[in-house]
Symmetry: C2
Subunit: 258 residues, 2 copies
Amino acid sequence: MAEASGLSPALSSAEKNPLHLQCGECPIRHRAVCARCDNEELTALENLKYYRRFEAGQPVVWSGDRMDFVASVVTGIATLTQTMEDGRRQMVGLLLPSDFVGRPGRMIAGYDVTAATDLVMCCFRRKPFEEMMATTPHVAQRLLEMTLDELDAAREWMLLLGRKTAREKIASLLAIIARRDASLNLRRASGKLMVDLPLTREEMADYLGLTLETVSRQISALKRDGVILLEGKRQILVPDFDRLLEEAGDDCDGGIPG
Amino acid sequence: MAEASGLSPALSSAEKNPLHLQCGECPIRHRAVCARCDNEELTALENLKYYRRFEAGQPVVWSGDRMDFVASVVTGIATLTQTMEDGRRQMVGLLLPSDFVGRPGRMIAGYDVTAATDLVMCCFRRKPFEEMMATTPHVAQRLLEMTLDELDAAREWMLLLGRKTAREKIASLLAIIARRDASLNLRRASGKLMVDLPLTREEMADYLGLTLETVSRQISALKRDGVILLEGKRQILVPDFDRLLEEAGDDCDGGIPG
DNA sequence: TTCCACCGTTGATCTGCGTCAAGGAAGCTT
DNA sequence: AAGCTTCCTTGACGCAGATCAACGGTGGAA
């Protein structure tokens, strides 16, 4: 793993103690690997690393080589991207806090992992992780469930990539971000739903299989049509979430929790 | 689960005993769930079902409702597809022998499961499966590995859907089928690689996020350019596999095993 | 045999999105 | 302040692939 060398992280006090952001003592949220906070094997393996959002041409944190570890996002956002020789790029994973990357059992990464924001990850070396999996069955089960969730998300994503129009893709992404955002900390402004976009237009384009120009145009169009309101460039207001879902072409039932 | 009722399967002798197709005694291949053929819990739960390839408008074997089971393909091919209200369809999974569907822990299917060919599946009810998972750690681990493999495949697929041209998509699909085909039983005719397409043009289109017309045109183009030869409509000869990979835009190293 | 359903091919035309290009706004460093 | 970089927006144009349409081949049923 590439060392996050020379970083002198200027973080808020909450971010300084990511251990306590999640479930009090355990570096990994309940939703993540650890199902019991008092799991000593897990906390003993704890190994936090900082990564800065990359400036200029976003180089990767890890490229497509050895990946003999498992890592869980504590704070920040990481992206998984695949790149073709000629530079075409497709995002294939978006890791929010409590999501994980890595392959117990296999060793080669098939994608780049990049810090989309400043990022704190909790890393486990492969060997001890595997031993722990073998001796602690509930960890393997939890991991299986999370992986199946990821797979379901990937399949939704495939429908988006293969069959949705640009406008539907944008609306879908906004709905996804809004929903995940809301599941953590719901924020409403004057009865409307407030969402901020953690991604640049280019990153959205890579997520959606579009160009950044098309992303920009469609966001403008949604704004023009009153589906969303822009508050600056990276923050949107959603006056009517159901309308947004409609634009997304989602049969996916379910609004915002809370 | 929908019963495959009223089927009087007219199958070859090999297909009549799918138990013995895979690893002699166990209905599930080594690659699949069962890591030890003598696992009595597994074989005791064994529950084989036949499904016919659906004629006319392909209805689904299971639609997006309860899915309180886990099932593994023994012989044949199953597809997972998602459909939007207006009928747009995207394939999100292609299950060959030893692949599985199902959600230990969760209950709702997010996609249709369809028999693309006549199909034999080995089904486990959720409850006993979960109990077994809890008591037999190597099953959970094996399942996790398989799920991670699926996830990797899904991510390759996302690159294909989001960024590849129609020609590259077709070449990629042919390469994928050839590779999976070869990993089971390699067949070569006069030094060339012989692959038969288990999917209709429409199913390929759903796989690739294209229309069936475009699929047909691009296959014709690849044939015209000598990348492939057609032997009938559902069987192709690949004179040069590396050439095919090149057309696919794959940096994905690795030719045909064997 | 005829009829019909399904599957595949090919042509003509249309259009959504990519491509190329120019420029504006915000945040830096010097 | 000026000047840089990064991020975003908007316009003009072209093309890959969708859409609409016609037709051929094959296999099963009557």
